[in-house]
Each structure stands twice: as structure tokens, then as C-alpha cells.
Amino acid sequence: MSNLVIGAIGTACLFAGILMGVNVMVVLGLVGAFGLAALVGFGAATSLLSTVFFETTHSFHFSVIPLFLLMGFFAMRAGLGEDLFEATTKWLGGLRGGLAISTTMGAAAFGAASGSSVGTATVFTKLALPEMLARGYDKSLASASIAIAGTLAVMIPPSALVVVYGILTDSSIGALLVAGFIPGIVFAFVLCVTIWLVVLRRPDLAPVDTTQYSLREKLLSLRLAGPLVLVIVCIVTGLYAGVFTPTEAGAVGAALTFVLALIRHKGVRGIDLPATLLETIRTSAMIFAILISALLFSKFLALSGVANAVGGFLTGLDVAPWVIVVLVSLIYLSLGMMMDAPALLAITLPITHPVMMDLGFDPIWFGIFVVLLVEIGAVTPPVGINCFVVQAASDGRVRLEDVFKGLVPFVLAGFAMLVLLYLVPQIALFLPKRM
């Protein structure tokens, strides 16, 4: 049997296993490990099993994940979610879908502090989801708007994924980071419009708060949103003033929200530290289990040659540039269904980047374009890490299917954003060209 056939069979098994209800991490790991055994033998597969768990977790860089989770849980204990809700309903509550829209804007603001799509999705699940559900929002709309809003953190600097692109393709990291700023804000705006359109068509998905508030009440409510704004301001200032690195921002954010929770409860007792810590580590374990088993599967897919075969096919085509762009997008969207972002970039960029450069596209522009593609992949089934995170952090309030179902309009919004980026590349290139 040829390696490509093994790769194809493995991919089919992955989908079958997931649909049969086996834990996603078990399917990814099992197909990956047995697939590797089929390609290079059991001893070889075992050797990767003996290294991948240590290699992936023995990392300072990844410590940001549990710490951002901890930040989210502390923020919840500090009541930042309720406060944000108080403030935003008073200002935007009259608007249908107002809370989902303000959550999106909040996540964009938070994205200027967080480099992690997954972390941001977690924080805002903790902050906004219970409030939206309590106000009668549709489960799918509420959870999906958070899952997609998390991706804004990767577009808006700082962003670990953009740095990965810069390294893999030898492009200017500084220019890339700056380039993501406007597209991030534009995408946030596109998402808000999408929410507005969705609830325009289906008003029952998001009830309007009919209470009228005076200007005085509205202004006073800003005081409530203050602590969250303060946390964001502290982190952004700290990053830009060089007090700490993006990786350290996770710990700083967690500590700041811990202090806020201490103040809120006038002591450590009200925070219920053991429960908070247990929630944090259980969600961390879930995320890392998926991350690592996705890596095992990526290794298998790479070694089977499936990834390389796709690239070879692309370079052989003789068609108009936009067709290649569409094909490249389809590759990312289909592989993005199954793989996590860094692995996806590592496998595909060596193939797609030269093709795009040959066609005369700007490397900085392509970086932003690819990051958007990969982030759309983070919310598409069956392996949509942001959806997993939202579901896991929702304390059973939503099911995975609810999240995926609600994402249809937002994935369409993502496509619209891709088209916009293609037609108006200046969105990404305006700032870096002025550096």
C-alpha cells in the first residue's frame, strides 16, 4: 500500500471516529499513532509517543494557556462579566444583539493584550456567555459569536501565530505585526455587522432589553466597566512599555484579575480558590490533550506525503492567479478543519508561500490572509479548537453542536473578509508601508 493511500485511509478513520463519538483527542492520537506505525513501524511510532508529550508541554511559551485560563476564571470570580454586562446593556442594550456586539468589540480590545485566540475565547466565554444566556440569547448565537471573536486576538498584535508565519517565510515580523492591526479592527466591524444582520432576520435569537436608562445611569455604568478596561490598559501599556513579554502577559493578567477578585470579595475566601484552580487545570488539560494529539496526527499526515502531494499539484497548474488563491484558501480551510494552527502553517507554508510569491503577491499581505484562513479553520468542525474551548469553558451551558451551528454566518463573514482582503490589500499593507 502506498503511503498516500495510508494517509487517505487515516484521514477517513479520523472523521469516522469523531462522528462515532470517540473523544476527539483519542481519535486524533490513535489514528496518528497507528498511522505512523503503518508508515514506519511500531517502534518508530512509539518513539514519537515517548517524546511528543514532553516536547509540547515542557515549554515556557505554552504556559500562557493555563495562565490565560486562570485569568478568565479569576475575571469571572471578580464579577467582571456582570459589570461589563451592566455597562454594555445600558449603552447598547436597546440595540438588538447589543451584548453580542459589545462582546465582539471587547474581544477586539482584549486582543490588543492577548496573543492567543484560544485564551481570548476562554476569557469571553467566562465573561459574556452566562450573561447573554441569562438575557435570553440563543445558545448558538451567543457561543459562536464568542468563538469567532476569539480569533481577533490573533489578527490584532501581539500575535504568536503571526510571528510563526514570519519565521517560516522569512518575512519582517515587525511589519507583519503592524499589518494585522487594521484587518483586525475591520474584521471586528464585519462581525458586528453580521450579528446585526443575523438578529435582524431572526429577532427571537436576541431579545431587546426594554428598560430605559438615563444618561447619568449610563455614565455611572462606565465605572463598572472600569476594572476590565483597567486590566486591558495595564496589559497593553505593560507590553508596549517593555515591562513584560507577550508570554509573560498571561501571568500578569491572571494576577491582576486575582487582585480584582480579592477586592470584590474582600478576601480570598469568597473566590473559592480550589474550585477556580480545578476548573483551570481541567480546561488546560483538555486543550493540551487536543493540541498534542493533533500534533501526532499532523506528523502522520506529513509523513504520509498527503500534505506534500497537494502542494505539488498546485504548482503544476496553469490558471489565473485568483483561481490559485481560491485553491490555496480551500486547502487551508479543509486542512484547517483537522489541524491546529502552528502545525498547519508549518506543513503548508513551504508549499503555498513560494507559489504565492511566484504569482507576485506581497509576503506581508499573504501572512495576514493566511492567518485569517487558519483562524477560520479554528472555528470549523470537526476540529475547531476555539469551539472546543468555548464549550469546555461554558460549564455545560452549551453543547459543541450549538457552537458549530451558530458559526455558519460568522464563517461566511470570514469569507467576506477574505474577499475584502483580496480586493483591497491596502487594508493589510497601509500601515507597514508607512513604517
Binding site: 513501524g41 518513539s47 515517548s50 516536547e55 511559551h61 515587525g174 513579554t245 507577550p246 508549518a346 507554508l349
Partner: protein, 313 residues
Amino acid sequence: ETFTWITFKPQGAGDAQARTTQWLVDEFEARTDGEHQIELFWGGSVAATGEIPEALANGVGDFGDIITPYFPDAMPLNNAVGFFIPQPMGTLEVGEAMERWHEEYPQFSEELESQNLHAMGFRPLETYGMLCREPVEGIGDLEGKRIRSYGFAYPALIEAMGATPVSITTADTYEALERSVVDCTPIGPALARGWKYDEIAKYYIDMPLGASFGHLLAMNLDTYQGMDEETRAVVDQLGADYLQEYARVLEEDRARVLELWQGEMGVEVIDFPEEDLTALVDDPQVQAVRDEWIAKAEEAGLPVDEIVSELQF
């Protein structure tokens, strides 16, 4: 037959390491008259840096590059150079020293064979200096500076400089330099250009830290021993030729970067008094790192003095 090469290096990096890896693979096919080929798996897609020795030993791949300093305990002898920072040899000298040591002292290859590995070639890194945000004219200017540190030799050396070692990830270093979380990082011109650090740190201090080692171009031992004599001869010769080709390409890269620095990049290269650095070797902490290697080498029955003398100024 088609062999596989697993590397952490992304193809798109386009640096001397990536280009010469491709060169080696092409040469292998040409020199075996197309009878054998190597399929390259780039970018750590099959095995990450920390996984490559195990993966190679167990046959996940046939060839691969091992970043030796990541494995000081598993392959201490082959890490000799890593324990001796600073040391006087440049890229080519370090590579040739490794070749010579492997020829003269069986302990070097035995260490790898016991892990089912074979070294077909050696790839030292470029000669390092220090890239800083501010000019540094001598050791006194380093007092209190925050310097990026990693691995097992730099923390001691940086402390001996009177500076503060700051451990940060490679991915964070660009931003850390930009925002003054660190003031300097040890690096060479080609690599500084590769990571874009020279966009934000504009002073390259020509501190003779030496070329560190580096990467073993390693093979699965069974694959190597299973080759017919003719193919094995091609591999052996190719390993030797690789070092020369790599050193040549790297030197070109460095020259190009230095020219770029003089021109549009505006990075100033500043001389550093060599004796300011060599004096630090006597620091007890720096010496302790060296003694650690010496103890391991003596245990393996190596004539330590001969090797150490090459690594001293």
C-alpha cells in the same frame, strides 16, 4: 531506494542551513546516479527539535539534523564546544575539529552508536557576537545590561559580564528587544538578519564568542550500516563536502548581511576588546561549566587536555 530526511528547518527560511540541506539532497541523488533519493520533510512537520534523536534512532526517518546543545546529557562528548563559550574557533574550524575528533577518538562515534545514531556530517553555527540596542565599547558598558540567555553556558558567562541573564523564548525575543525587555542578545549577523532582530537592535558588538556547535547531520545507524559499500562511500564523502559547501554559503550570507548593515539597514559594527572577554573565562562559574564537560570526558577515557587546548584562547 528513497530515504527520508527529517528536519526542524523550514524550507522557506532560505538560509545557509536550508539551502545547503537541499544541496546535499540533490548531490546525493546525482552522486548515486539517481539510484537513491532523499525525501525532505521540512519545518519539524514530522519531528520537533527535541524529538529528532529518538525519531532517527527508531527509524521514523533515515537522516536528520540534531541540534546537539539540546542534548547535553544524552551526547555530552559531541557537545564539547557548547560547554566552552567563548572559544577561539570559527565556523569551519569547529566543523573540522569535530571531524578530526571523530577520526581520532572512537568515543565520539561510540557515544552516538550506543543510541543507534551515526554522524555523517557536521554543521557548526556561525561565529557569534552580541547584538545590542545601545553601543557597547568594552566590558564596563555591559554592567547591568539585560542580556538574553539560553542553554547551559550563557547564564554563567552573562553573569560574569556583570550583566543580568534573561531567559526568554526565541519567539518572544524580537518583541523583547523592541521593548527593551532585553538590551542585547548573543547572535551572528546571518541569524540576526534571519530573525529580523537587526530591524530593532542597531549595534553589533564584534565580541569573539566563537562559533558554537551546532548540528549533527545524523543517520539511523541501521540505515547507514544497511547501505551497500558504494552508497556508504558516497554518504561519507558527501558529509565532508557538506561542511565546505555550508561554510562557503554561510560566509557569503554573512558578507551580504554585513554589506546590508553598512547600507540601508544602518547597523553599526563595533569592535570589542578581546581581552575583556577572554578574562571572563577564569570566572569560577564559567569554569564550572567547563569542568562539567571535562569530568564527563575523563569518565569516557578521552585525552581531555588535547581537546581543551583547542577550545582555549
